[in-house]
Amino acid sequence: MGGTPVRSMARSPFVLVVGAVLTWFIAAFLVWPNVNVLIATFFPDGDFSGRAAEKLFSSQRAMKALGNSFLLAVALSITVNLVGIFIVLVTHYFRIRGSRILFLGYASTFIYGGIVLAAGYKFIYGDKGIVTSLLVKVFPAMDPGWFSGFFAVLVVMTFATTTNHMLFVANALKGIDYQTIEAARNLGASTWTILRRVVLPMLKPTLFAVTILSFLTGLGALSAPQVLGGRDFQTITPMILTFTNSPTSRDLAALLAVILGVATILMLAVMSRLEKGGTYFSVSKVSSALEKQSITNPVANAAVHAVAYLLFAVYTLPVVLIVVYSFADGAAIQTGQLTPGNLTLDNYVRVLTQQSGLRPFVVSVVYSALAALIAVGGLLFVARLLQKYRNWVSAVFEYLLHIPWVLPSALLALGLIISYDHPNPLVGGAVLTGTTVILLIAFVTVKIPFTLRMLKASFASVNSSLEEAAAIMGAKTLYVFRRILLPLVLPAAAAITALNFNSLLDDYDTAIFLAHPLVQPLGLVIKANTDGAEGVEGVANTFVYTVLLMVITGVTMYLVYGRSRLRGSTKKRLPGIPPAAPVAGPTLSGAPVPGEDATQPAAAVR
């Protein structure tokens, strides 16, 4: 996997075509709009001013909040991996009783997130929460406000953001060649040694990718600190949002965003370096599918079972409460006084009988589906090339594609407006503002970094000898891509598409600036119905929309996974794919874990 000279890369027509399209896209939609908005921000009158830096670095609050964001990012990178790997092993690697049920519980983070998730945890562990009330009865000396600050934020965000582990790490795990495990066992390795020396190393590319995502989630944390952070643990994102909205302070927002962005890119660079040089696929001639392992030590077995079910309770309780509370009136939600008598369908009737009706749902579904498909479809080629060719050109492209991680989406949207509110040669002289296309472009661009990371990780676990064999037998580049590579990364691609789709469904930050007035997506309607964020109906509506989104995202996951399983069974009959196929392959066919259908991802808690 060493570097490939740029010159040899330029010899392939496939590379040239993809490269040309990519160059145009990056120039037109990633670089130009953001350069424009940054120039307008930092050089308001044509002169650069160091004002922003000076203001920020002399503000105690800004520095503390920034520090908190970094602390959270680093801590989350560790805790999410611990919990995430544990639940993946429990559901996919070890033989655990009821792993199907456990899976469903752990998968609940797929379908919801954000402020409602944080509120759900507060219903349980907050000062008036169910668990807290119980605990206070048992230990009267206990502080009812125990669940707040850094600890509470870290706990909630850890459990809320294991989605990527459940999807991608589990996927990679299923691809591991069972023969290597058997071989290790025959050589006398213990369960623990096999895990540490055989299984986890194979998962590295995926673990690196999800670690970057956890880091990023921590840096961008918004709602969990707002709800649970209290006075001592506030993060930087609320300040960035306030400053983005104020034209005279936008330079501060941009500077803060750039600081976070640079940190993310550094993290990316470190992870890329760690990833380099490893071999992450099975090299055996005939690989076989993973079988679940029993934990032989009875004490360890009992302990793992206990922890697994405890985590199950932690994961499921908030969801149950959110669904229940969505039937209560807004005052009851906020004061925490719930009686079975005041649960009615009123909230749902109010939300669903609005004049706008189902239209915003349809608009959002169409936009999100298109954006998710385009992002994944387009980046399949790009990720493949970036993974295959490693030289300075591909490195530059890769970093440029991460621009959307650097700037907050409101600034991305403003950049698109000021760049395309007049005929612009970059897009063939068209005016994009006021059209329905501009929002689609924005949706696609914001999903690029995530899509690219996960796709690249999944290509990294494909055994390159398959491709070489096909090429030797005369297969053309596109044929190899379509018949060999694509089926192998398809499970990951489907999961990414579903996650992208779900996270775009309720987007507000981008849509508010770019949506066509006659084609308004759901995020705007949700905002109109929940704003003030407070109020009585507003809060109840927030819960109703959350539950409705859970339904949509749940159905999406079912469709994606249900269908991929079908394809999996037909796939086996297809000629051309070696039955011994590799790592990511077995995932497709009848997955050993039956609960999988219900899986669905949603926006992480940010």
Partner: protein, 358 residues
């Protein structure tokens, strides 16, 4: 194969989306100014507002349709709507904007995104409440300090904002904001800081004034996300805080609390929601007619009746809720130099966020 299908499906869908956008009312895509009303959509007016919540947007759309106006409401928070109007000024999408207060509208006017227009009802409103040229007043809203009247008798209650942090009995009993993004919070600070105007002070405010801000943040109980002030009053966490006049009656009922409001001797800040014509609209005539209709005594009266608001249009008062009208009749308005406030608000918010919020 599947990939190909996906791509084709995507391409078809994009075309459909683009088609429906271009065909109906894409003001930008149709290039030339004539902009023939395509399809059956007629002249749909695009109306930006932050005042569409709690059913107001739907009510207005229905009423406007009855009067022969086809409108499409685009709702956004005050700051978002302002930023959007300014960002789009080279190629506007909106035709009319309403609901934003004078601070926001003077910002948009300064950016040159609005077109002066004198509505037919200009004579029925107090011109002082708008700028008398570009944006015109519709609804008055008082920004008040409210307290739990079951806990505090009138004479034991605070008499002014400054009491909250100077008198020990109110410390930690009032809710303070955790961000200055909302119009209400900004108006509270406009009301407090205006009293300490000092052209030699930092950002036009004396040191004494900034000390008040510092005290406000040090002694208040921080607001809790997604938990309404009234919910916190109901549970006894706090007893008082900022509130716009229009929400009080309904929240008292929902949370079963009684709230009285403080009228400081300097008066209370008024937020006045305005309406204006967007510069560069391609449906100018229709938009002007809409403004004439919307601000008329008839429509404003019905709006006030429906949403318990206080109309600026004098002839509309008769239809408004009598209690609301009485409240405003007795209300002393704080004298605030809005031009001064608008010029400095951005910098004030920044300073407060960076230096005083803890």
């Amino acid at each position: 194969m599947r990939k190909l299908q996906t791509l084709v499906a995507a391409a078809v869908a994009v075309t459909l989306l683009a088609g429906c956008g271009g065909g109906t009312a894409t003001p930008a895509a149709s290039g030339d100014a004539s902009s023939a009303p395509a399809g059956g959509s007629g002249e749909t007016l695009v109306v930006y507002t932050n005042s569409n919540g709690e059913g107001r947007g739907e009510w207005l759309t229905t009423k406007a349709a009855e009067a022969g106006f086809k409108i499409e409401i685009v709702g956004a928070g005050g700051a978002d709507a302002t930023n959007k109007l300014i960002a789009e000024k080279n190629n506007p999408i909106a035709d009319v904007a309403f609901g934003l207060n004078n601070m926001y509208f003077s910002q948009i006017t300064a950016e040159g995104a609005l077109e002066p227009y004198e509505p037919a009802w200009a004579g029925e409103v107090d011109k002082e409440l708008g700028d008398g040229e570009t944006y015109w007043p519709l609804v008055k809203q008082a920004i008040l300090l409210g307290y739990n009247s079951d806990k505090f008798a009138k004479d034991a209650a605070p008499q002014d904002w400054t009491d909250l942090w100077t008198k020990d009995e109110f410390k930690a009993r009032y809710e303070r904001v955790t961000g200055l993004g909302t119009a209400t919070a900004q108006l509270v600070f406009a009301g407090i800081l205006s009293r300490y105007r000092d052209d030699s002070g930092d950002l036009g405010i004396s040191d004494e004034g900034w000390k008040q801000v510092e005290q406000y943040f040090q002694n208040g109980s921080p607001a809790v996300a997604k938990t309404d002030l009234f919910a916190r009053i109901a549970s006894g966490e706090v007893d008082m805080g900022q509130m716009p006049s229009s929400i009080i009656a309904e929240r008292e009922k929902s949370f079963k609390v009684n709230v009285e409001t403080v009228i400081p001797s300097v008066g209370v800040p008024l937020a006045v929601e305005q309406v204006a014509l967007v510069k560069g609209t391609k449906k100018k005539e229709q938009a002007q007619k809409f403004i004439d209709w919307f601000g008329s005594a008839q429509v404003q009266g019905e709006f006030a009746q429906q949403f318990n608001s206080m109309p600026v249009n004098k002839s509309a008062e008769a239809k408004a809720n009598a209690e609301v009208v009485d409240f405003f009749a007795d209300l002393k308005q704080q004298d605030i130099d809005w031009e001064f406030v608008q010029e400095n608000m951005g910098a004030w918010v920044e300073k407060i966020e960076l230096e005083y919020m803890t």
